[in-house]
């Protein structure tokens, strides 16, 4: 299988280059990884990308509803089949909102309890393993990632029966999410879907003095390559 790792670029994405910077840094050590910026109007075919990141931002201006338009973009047209064939998709922040719109993960995000945008660095507990991102060894660890969102209050309605497990929880709930859930995960066919509000790509570089996000990316490399 190919080692192309893609970041999907929607108009309004603004964390696309941050993730790409992480991939480029990884590819220095692991030349097999080829970082790709994938334009939203190009369909994603099966078995082309091993990892697909839906980055943070305000895709299509978040008009209508965060993530609502990105869901019907050409790039994500047959996302389910692409994942079933083996792709590992991570949606960060706006990317998480998009994944919830696709219903590949259950639940919905509403405005933060404070009604305000929250930017902070928060402590999170890794609740469970989540291939390829978290290993059994990570379970129970506490990490600090930045958050930056206004619609990050994760909720499940009674009719939300979709399969998922919470793998990341806030130590101190900043936004009112049910059970303090910050990230949810499921496997799907040969691939997986992971949606989270915090930004592990902003906790990667040593120069920024916060490297708690390194294991998540490092695990993916070690588990997939």
């Amino acid at each position: 299988m190919s080692r192309h790792w893609a970041v999907v670029q929607f108009p309004g994405s603004n964390c696309d280059h941050d993730v790409l910077k992480v991939f480029q840094s990884l590819s220095k050590k692991y030349p097999e990884i080829e970082p790709v910026l994938h334009w939203h109007e190009d369909p994603i075919e099966k078995n082309v990308y091993e990892v697909i990141i839906l980055p943070g931002g305000f895709s299509y201006g978040d008009y209508l509803r965060a993530g609502a338009i990105a869901k019907i973009s050409q790039a994500l047209n047959n996302l389910e089949e692409v994942i079933e064939a083996g792709a590992h998709v991570m949606g960060i922040c706006n990317g998480f909102q998009i994944l919830l719109e696709t219903r590949l993960l259950p639940g919905y995000l509403q405005v933060n309890k404070s009604l305000k945008f929250i930017s902070d660095t928060v402590s999170l507990k890794i609740e469970d393993e989540a291939f390829p991102w978290f290993t059994k060894k990570n379970k129970g660890e506490v990490v600090r990632y930045p958050i930056a969102h206004r619609f990050g209050n994760y909720q499940l309605s009674k009719i939300d029966k979709g399969e998922m497990k919470p793998v990341l929880k806030y130590q101190e709930n900043p936004n009112g999410s049910i059970d303090g859930i910050a990230g949810v995960y499921r496997t799907l066919g040969k691939g997986s879907v992971f949606g989270l509000m915090p930004h592990p790509e902003r906790a990667f570089f040593e120069d920024l003095r916060l490297t708690d996000g390194q294991p998540i990316w490092q695990n993916a490399v070690e588990n997939l390559i």
């Binding site: 309004g12 305000f58 305000k116 929250i118 660095t121």
Partner: protein, 751 residues
């Protein structure tokens, strides 16, 4: 506007000239140059071109004295933004802009479009913006109106900056009653540019094509520059429909795609893109006139081709619309479709609206009719305004009795920590995305902001910046205010380990027709120049906002003259950036200071203003620019030696306030100090605001190196105390209490 024309018995065009703000002198000058009466559209254009906002007619004579050249300068004032060198390949573009008047009328949109405007200035140069800073002044925050303005302005900046994905990493929020009728919203942006791909507005040539890029044009913001930004307010009438409709409405998503499209055009079609300018104040008018005049070319524009989103727009409305998220570009003939392809890919409009020629005339047609035909070079400069000679009111040195009373230190400390200019702004900064871009080493709350801009050649390179203004100093003595602001900003950069290279200034003053305002301008520029010479930090860009005046009960009241300086510096290795909070238990805290006479009381400190208001302090605190250079060099050397665990400047509130704030890390260290042997008046020592003092945290075993450093740079050093695990704040013999109490006081103001 149009009612004025129909007044019977008056020359309608003369009447309109007065309505668009032309003085008799300007009208006569216009007729003299044209040799005929202007058309309505021409007059509307001249009205905005010669407005204070666009022409700087009341400040030019001082601004041109500013020192703008230096070894790092790639582009000084005059372009969309200033540029300095970062390394051999890259430059730093930066600028500050004001959006005071729109933000007072409509805080959310006013502040949001202020962010949009300054970001366009940056990416118009070819730079990708990487950081924002906001410098704000509100009126008395006990007034409900100002709580509303605060919330709206912060919300607007957050909305626009967060959507654009540009982190707000710095800022300052202050308040004071001089801003009750006129708040200040100054926004700073900084970006990185490839030195081989810098774009300017003055590089158009005859025979090229003029394009409008970005959003469609509507009727929003018409006359914003002339009637909103260049006029004063009248108390109680600031929310008239007349003024509300002058405020532009921003759409950060449109700007984001315009930015990406523009940067992609610059990257892939750089040789076809001749010149570019953003459409800010007075939209199409200022962009066409400035590009034609600066490039020394003529331009023919067909206004019917401008993409519009409203029907029935008149020529003058197209010319004056301040619809946001638009650019004017001059491109090589034949390349139009290539530009359109990139713009359309990003969902932006791109339309050819005219061409350039060698006529030195700006000609515009609308529906086949010629509506504008102006000799543009001759009309760029407004005739010199009739202005009063600068005169700063003499400060009466008051015969006051130095109070014997010394206030209870703990109560003073608590009260100073809850003063809005000192109190924690954490809750405000939580509304801004401070970490997007994965480059923020130090965000808000540190002595200076630090961004990591590593490249292959310089993997750990960093940019630092710091913005400062103390309006109380400016009000007392504008020259001192300017020098103190520059010294403080440079000192803060030195504290984190960056060397200052250049700065941008945001001047905010009252009515230019007052001698005092003229003096504020003149003296501020003199003060800035003294600092520029001392620190070798030229001014590369800036903004002047005038008419920050409100008529209240028939009396015009100017704001305190307030000039924000944002100084930008560079550091080789961001891993060595020094934090401003205490780092470890047991380390020693030292004061490093410039020697000199500090026994001035009551100098203009926050303590004196709050606790002895009847004394009306008239003495500027100690400041020594030559000493500041030594302090800068000493701190940078200390950084080279890895001497400092933490470092912070002593500023508003004085020494005790700075020491207390240094304890407010998540670990909540305490401080144990002893100043019982000091000869000075104790309140002056604890709360005075003498400049040129820095608190250093060092490992005890490196004391001798610090002493050597002090001697080498002729600076005084004295040990203040130690960092303790016990969360108690103590300065013997009399000041003692719990850190948590102080922290709660400090955090209680902005929720």
């Amino acid at each position: 506007m149009s009612q004025a024309i129909s007044k019977e018995g008056l020359d309608p065009i003369r009447e309109l000239a007065a309505a668009v703000g032309l003085s008799d002198k300007e009208w006569n000058h216009l007729i003299f140059v044209l040799g005929r009466h202007p058309s309505e559209s021409e007059l509307q254009m001249i009205g905005v071109m010669w407005s204070e906002h666009c022409s700087y007619k009341s400040s030019k004579r001082y601004l041109k004295k500013l020192i703008t050249k230096g070894k790092y300068v790639l582009e000084g004032p005059g372009e969309n933004a200033g540029l300095i060198a970062l390394d051999a390949e890259r430059g730093i573009a930066f600028k500050i802009e004001s959006h005071n008047h729109p933000s007072f009328v409509e805080p959310f949109q006013g502040a949001a479009t202020g962010v949009g405007g300054i970001l366009r200035d940056i990416f118009t140069m070819g730079a990708r913006p990487i950081a924002l800073g906001d410098y704000l002044r509100f009126g008395d925050l006990n007034l409900e109106k100002h709580q509303y303005l605060l919330d709206g302005v912060i919300g607007g900046i957050a909305h626009y900056g967060n959507c654009m994905g540009i982190p707000v990493v710095a800022g300052h929020v202050g308040s004071g009653s001089s801003y009750n009728g006129n708040i200040l919203v100054n926004v700073f942006a900084l970006g990185i540019v490839d030195r081989n791909k810098i774009f300017r507005s003055n590089t158009g040539k005859p025979g090229q094509v003029v394009m409008v890029w970005g959003a469609k044009t509507g009727r929003d913001g018409i006359h914003g520059a002339s009637l909103l930004a260049s006029a004063d307010f009248e108390s109680g009438k600031t929310e008239t429909k007349e003024q509300k409709i002058r405020v532009q409405v921003g759409d950060p998503f449109k700007e984001k795609v315009l930015m990406e499209a523009t940067l992609e055009c610059m990257q892939s079609l750089s040789s076809d893109l001749a010149a570019i300018q953003d459409m800010g104040a007075a939209g199409l008018t200022s962009s066409t006139t400035e590009m034609a005049a600066k490039s020394k070319i003529g331009m023919k524009i067909d206004l019917s081709k401008v993409p519009v989103r409203e029907t029935g727009m008149k020529a003058f409305e197209l010319l004056l619309s301040e619809s946001q998220e638009r650019m004017l570009a001059i491109v090589e003939k034949g390349s139009e479709e290539k530009f359109k392809a990139i713009l359309n890919k990003w969902g932006c409009e791109g339309e050819v609206v005219g061409e350039t020629d060698d006529s030195e005339l700006l000609r515009m047609t609308f529906d086949g009719q010629t509506v504008v035909d102006l000799p543009i070079q001759k009309l760029m400069d407004a005739p010199p305004a009739d202005l009063p000679e600068p005169e700063w009111p003499a400060v009466q040195s008051q015969a006051y009795k130095i109070p014997d009373e010394i206030k209870k230190e703990w109560e003073v400390l608590e009260k100073l920590l809850c003063h809005p200019s000192v109190a924690s702004k954490k809750e405000i900064f939580k509304r801004y995305d401070t970490t997007v871009g994965a480059a923020t080493v130090f965000g808000p709350g540190q002595e200076a902001s630090v961004l990591w801009v590593g490249s292959k050649e310089h993997p750990h390179l960093g940019i630092a910046f710091k913005g400062v203004a103390d309006e109380n100093f400016y009000q007392l003595n504008p020259r001192f205010g300017a020098k103190a602001a520059m010294a403080k900003a440079v000192r803060s950069l030195s504290c984190v380990g960056a060397r200052a290279r250049a700065f941008t200034d945001g001047i905010n003053v009252g009515n230019p027709k007052n001698a005092k305002t003229q003096a504020a301008l003149s003296e501020t520029v003199e003060g800035l120049n003294e600092a520029i010479i001392a620190f070798e930090t030229p001014c590369v860009s800036g903004n002047v906002s005038m008419y920050n005046q409100t008529v209240s009960d028939g009396v015009p009241r100017d704001i305190y003259p307030t000039t924000f300086v944002v100084v930008v510096g560079v550091m080789d290795d961001v891993r060595k950036a020094v934090p401003s909070l205490f780092q470890s238990e047991g380390s020693e805290i030292w004061l490093l200071e410039i020697p000199g006479n500090r026994e001035l009381f009551p100098e203009a400190s926050l303590y004196a203003r709050e606790f002895f208001p009847e004394l009306k302090p008239s003495v500027c605190p100690f400041l020594d620019l030559e000493g500041e250079q030594r302090l800068q060099n000493a701190l940078l050397k200390a950084n080279d030696l890895n001497l400092m665990l933490s470092c912070r400047d002593v500023s508003t509130g004085g020494l005790a306030v700075s020491l207390a704030k240094a304890c407010f890390s998540e670990k909540r260290f305490g401080f144990e100090g002893d100043l019982s042997k000091t000869q000075s008046r104790r309140d002056q020592l604890l709360f005075g605001e003498a400049q040129g003092r820095v608190i250093l945290e060092i490992n005890p075993n490196r004391r001798s190196e610090l002493m050597k450093l002090g001697a080498e740079f002729n600076l005084q050093i004295r040990k203040l105390g130690n960092v303790t695990q016990d969360p108690t704040f103590r300065i013997r013999p009399t000041l003692s209490g719990s850190i948590e109490t102080l922290f709660q006081a400090w955090s209680s103001v902005f929720k």
